[in-house]
């Protein structure tokens, strides 16, 4: 911390606008004695050991260094990993249109007079999300599937005035980690309901459902790939005034019952599958839609269609009065942004695959995964979990630690799957395998042969 302190004591810095006096006044207001005191809850091992940075390098040197680093990534593996993020085909028109300079900003357009194109694109995106999820109103997007789920539970809290949240154990553990971390300092009681045979445990959920519950969080297909129909859980929840939050996989909605059809109150999900490339850390896309009656409790931006003074169709941000730049601490949510560029990609993807195309993509995913299941299940010592139907991802049990198997499969050119022990303690030999429309018959056959040889040769 020393360098920062020195910069402050110099009183004028090119980069830090606060004067020494500003800093002193702020520390006094907080009740901290010094900058070190202010940051005293950061453990020493988490603090930088030194601020002695190396001398600056030229652009050429930096580029070479970064290229060498990125060359260490394996980017040409044939991908059978899913776990919430999938290797789908992105039609070239998505890049072509989304990379146009007129669109190329991730930020929300505040000024309708100079942003009609972007606003219309977001409006089309919202309409597409409504139709996809079977809901009545969608927002202009959120950061990713996990934060969308967090926003949904906070919304359920606002709607119901209750503080208990039931979470199905088969909701992505990545999302659950995000939820728990976001709500760590809030007064929310979480009850995790373990899955039974890979599906939501009706009896256990019923036992916990009462008039203290704000919402129940479900996911379809769940983290193990299993498809479920949560309509009965939705009826049970509504009977006690609790809401149902359903996290959905958008591509699967080409074939499966939508959250709206199941009676969910809030639908969320990860929009990466809709035209966004797989990338470590994103940027990804959270979507959210709900019933009209909850419009004013929904976080984030909403673009509305209206008419201008000359009666021409136009688009503008609406319900902004609920946001934090106006409502301050009483804002609906502290999210005051959206993923406009990612939402644009989703809108382009959905409009170019179209209504029938999406059904076709979904069907291909399902059929190719079934084909892979039938081959993988024949390998000696390997079993495919068959307790529920699946969409494009399924759980296999291996005779060995999947982590070793995955490492060996990389040598053969495959990203083989996701080991469940990373998040589920009692699933040592379990791995989830995803098969998208991009996987060819030849790749699936070669994958099976390689897996067999890794296990038995």
């Amino acid at each position: 911390m020393r360098l920062i302190k020195n910069t402050w004591t110099d009183s004028v810095s090119d980069y830090i606008a606060n004067t020494e006096k500003d800093v002193r006044l702020m520390l006094e207001a907080i009740g901290a004695k010094s900058i070190e005191d202010l940051f005293s809850d950061i453990k020493p091992e988490n603090k930088p050991r030194s601020f002695n940075l190396p001398e600056g390098r030229s652009e050429f040197e930096v580029m070479r260094h970064l290229k060498n680093l990125s060359a260490k990534n394996a980017t040409d593996l044939v991908c059978f990993v899913g776990a919430g993020f999938y290797d789908h085909y992105i039609p070239s028109v998505v890049d072509h249109l989304a990379n146009r300079a007129e669109f190329y900003t991730a930020y929300t357009p505040y000024q309708p007079e100079c942003s009609q194109g972007t606003l219309q694109a977001i409006y089309e995106y919202q309409s597409a999300i409504c139709r996809l999820t079977g809901m009545e109103i969608a927002n202009a997007s959120l950061y990713d599937g996990g934060t969308a789920l967090y926003e949904a539970l906070m919304m359920a809290r606002r709607v119901t005035g209750r503080n208990r949240v039931l979470v199905d154990d088969a909701v992505s553990p990545i999302y659950r980690t995000i939820i728990y971390s976001y709500t760590k300092n809030l007064d929310i009681e979480f009850v995790e309901v373990p899955v039974q045979h890979g599906q939501s445990d009706r009896a256990a959920i019923k036992k916990h459902l009462d008039d203290k519950v704000a919402c129940i969080i479900l996911q379809n297909p769940n983290f193990f790939g299993a498809i479920d129909d949560h309509s009965d859980i939705a009826s049970d929840a509504h009977r006690v005034g609790a809401l149902v939050v359903e996290s959905a996989y958008p591509i699967s909605l080409g074939l499966l019952k939508t959250p709206g059809e199941m009676g969910a109150d809030i639908a969320t999900g990860e929009g990466q599958s809709l035209g966004l490339p797989l990338s470590f850390g994103g940027p990804y896309l959270g979507f959210m839609s709900t019933k009209r009656e909850f419009a004013r409790k929904m976080p984030g931006r909403v673009v509305g269609e209206t008419v201008d003074a000359n009666n021409r169709t136009g688009y503008c941000l609406t319900l902004q009065t609920r946001e934090q730049h106006i409502r301050r601490e009483k804002a609906t949510s502290n999210i005051c942004s959206n993923e406009a560029l990612c939402a644009l990609r989703a809108a382009i993807y959905l409009s170019c695959v179209g209504k029938e195309g999406l059904v076709q993509v979904a069907r291909l995913n399902y059929e190719k995964a079934e084909f892979a299941k039938s081959l993988i299940g024949k390998i000696k010592g390997v079993s495919v979990k068959q307790s529920s139907p699946t969409f494009n991802e399924f759980t296999v049990v291996l005779p060995r630690d999947p982590k070793e198997v995955i490492a060996a499969m990389i040598e053969k050119g495959f990203a083989a799957g996701f080991p469940l022990t990373r998040y589920y303690k009692n699933m040592e030999n379990y791995m989830i395998v995803a098969v998208t429309e991009k996987r060819t018959k030849e790749e699936i056959v070669r994958y099976t042969q390689s897996l067999e040889s890794v296990l038995w040769n």
Partner: protein, 129 residues
């Protein structure tokens, strides 16, 4: 600026018309002008309780969403459901058809913290409009 006689006011620009142990609450002409076109009124639940100067309802205009504070403590006995479909009543008729809620007053002595129309007029004039 319309400031009727016989009502009591808050410095947050709410009014209350007291009729024995009941009161009708709304926002003043000054408030509706400052807000601009009202687009939505979020009404409280009937049978709920509210304390003096605490949030009673939320009023949303093209400019902002603002809280309406209760001039007195009490129990909410009625809300103006006409506002659900016609929030513009607050602009058109803030002292009659645009009322917000009716309460059963808990403690009439709290009146001492409210302004009469003369005092409220003086207060509003001081705000310089």
């Amino acid at each position: 600026m319309n400031i009727p006689q016989g009502l009591l006011f808050t410095k947050e620009h709410e009014w209350i018309k007291i009729d024995s142990d009941k009161g009708i609450i709304g926002i003043t002409d000054y408030a509706q002008r400052a807000l601009g076109d009202v687009t939505f009124v979020e009404l409280p639940k009937v049978a709920g309780h509210v304390r003096q100067f605490q949030g009673l309802a939320t009023i949303e205009s093209v400019k902002a969403a603002s809280d309406i504070f209760s001039p007195l403590s009490g129990e909410i006995i009625e809300v103006n459901t006409k506002l659900e479909n016609n929030p513009a009543l607050v602009n058109q008729s803030c002292y009659s058809d645009g009322w917000i809620t009716k309460i059963k007053i808990k403690d009439l002595s709290e009146k001492k913290d409210l302004l009469d129309s003369a005092a409220y007029k003086k207060y509003v004039d001081g705000l310089g409009v």
